[in-house]
Symmetry: D2
Subunit: 215 residues, 4 copies
């Protein structure tokens, strides 16, 4: 059976939960457009996260891979446009490592663009009444690390498997501890991710829609 | 039968919906703690809003009144502490009126404190995993106008009927048109309001909890 | 000689400086419109702040009093509209006291409106190219405490002495420790306060300008 | 004489001024570390901006090039880490063009990292008490366009000339029209840019300092 791999992260930065796993785990074994969704939790650790991801890709041979993570403070679902070849950790990862200005892949290209139809995904989620937008940066922490590592691996495979990254706001229960921070309900997030998978499977050519930022 | 009156507003400021009515209308005729909830939509207009409110209070003789409104841009459920005796409209109301620095009740006191157990309500909603906080200002528009008018009327009646005001974030579908704005799902909001009513009915003495602001 | 009293606060909340004293101290003994400006630093402590303020008022017999404080996180100069009769401390004051939901003046009115021409002050500061706005809440900490205590005292005196409160953003050097927080240069702030004093001295009747908030 | 080229932009997006030119123009012909600073205003237009930049680079043969632009809404000086190979205009440029998802250089690399010592610049500006940070995205508008085009040209030259981009907050007078937006005084900004040039000229190897983002 054809597979879709969707990954999430374990909690980090003092949080008890990670919204990505709360949402992604609900999609495990779901059938979408004839594909079986497989959900996998990654460690929030440089290196280990990619090791786990690559092993899962090897085992499953998925035709689409979407990695999902937490972007505490953002108000909407953000579909990442690009991953950059740098690890620059503001806080230590879950292994206690805090790389600063080190390349993810020494000698690798400076960046990879997502190969998901990011504009179509944003448009589809918004059509469903859920706030979403394109993000121009996935940061420089483990999320960006996984997105870059994923796209690097896919670029080497030279097949048509597509991949990318989606960031989620805090869940409401997390926002309790972050006064003034926006949040989004787990059910809403799950619907958005389900749509993202479906749209990615169905869309050959991305839409030409405004989604840029002046800075 | 004993009644609770919960009011909401019609849309204003170019919005197609108002989150307060979307949530409050779902509570209409609900039974809570032996009280029947009556939901009523108010016009978003200085004067008219209070006329409608007073007529409903007269007809129902409710033992608790909670007015609810939209606070676009806030990220959580905010329970208002105080209403002030001023109309100062940043935008015209739905009748096209835009009073500036006019008293709501000429000769009335400068302000009224909510008579709801605001700390207990905030605490209860947060216990359910929904972000909530005390707000130190209900603004100077129709929401504050209704809160002040409500508390002024209750102060004159000299009975034990309690009242106050709760502000809601945008709904997700509204946030589509306000990039970066936080939102909260209608179902989450409805649960929070249901708790607010229940807690207000059950709590004699408010809790002594931190809920202030340094500015 | 006729006097203007302008007060500021000592640092609080872990800060090394308070923008209010950095700016206000530069105005000490300045002559404005024939009035001598006297600058006074208040302790950031419930009770003590008012004791110091009242003593200074008694000694100087000023004809205008403007209290100034820090509102970390706000981006512009905010002229406060109203002070409310409550102490609700989110953090302990500099004496270690943390009153919760206690009246400032037991039996006092719920609130006092500023007797400064707040719209004219905002307008004048903005004319000079400096961001300013009316604020609908001075919080529930020592700033609001001083503003309420000041206006209560002035209301009892029944003379024409006017008073109010102005909040300032962080200084740039403070914002270093608050990532993403706005700040304003000390020189800009000093100019704004100088204008506030001048405008308050010259303006009998406040301007009728929009300055409200929808929430 | 050895030269430093520092560029700014003309106003765009309905603004009357651009903070970059207000600050950069004050540095014109300044001598710093034995280098003469040349300030140049670029059109805020895709293509034309690079044509003007390249002509100036050709004429001056500068040994350092820093492009500067406006990032309305940001609170501090942001030193950009990376430019990406995409034009995606949220609003039309000053020629009325609005490219969507088009490469800046067809076939060019996905991104270029700044060759400025970005951590050292941020650190030096902060040491002077001015808020500054590393930014992980220069957006997808004319600022990113110029940064990418600049770094692409420098990469082709294969000499040691360094280049990068710095974004500025609104000036206070601009923030008047953007309620709640942070701003920074022109004099503060000019000092920060002067330091950026000096540090870039003096620093061979960038500092190893935390400057990343979790998202």
């Amino acid at each position: 059976m054809k597979k879709v791999l969707i990954t999430a992260f374990e909690p980090f930065g003092g949080e008890q939960i990670n919204p990505s796993w709360e949402a992604v785990s609900q999609l495990h074994e779901r059938m979408l457009c004839g594909f079986q969704v497989v959900a996998k939790e990654l460690p929030c650790a440089f290196g280990d996260a990619l090791t786990t991801l690559y092993a899962e890709m090897e085992a499953l041979q998925p035709e689409l891979i979407i990695a999902v993570g937490q972007a505490g403070g953002r108000a909407d679902i953000t579909v990442e446009r690009i991953a950059i070849n740098i690890n620059d950790a503001r806080i230590p990862d879950n292994n206690g490592n805090q790389p600063i200005d080190e390349p993810i892949i020494p000698g690798g290209p400076a960046a990879y663009f997502s190969t998901l139809p990011i504009k179509a995904i944003v448009d589809g989620i918004r059509e469903a009444g859920i706030p979403a937008s394109v993000s121009q940066t996935a940061g420089t922490y483990v999320c960006n690390h996984v997105m870059y590592g994923l796209l690097h691996r896919l670029a080497q495979q030279d097949n048509k498997v597509r991949g990318g990254f989606i960031h989620l706001p805090y869940l409401p229960e997390q926002a309790l501890n972050h006064p003034g921070a926006p949040s989004m309900a787990a059910h809403t997030v799950m619907l958005a991710l389900e749509m993202a998978i479906t749209i990615a499977l169905r869309t050959e050519q991305d839409l030409r829609l405004v989604g840029g930022a002046t800075h």
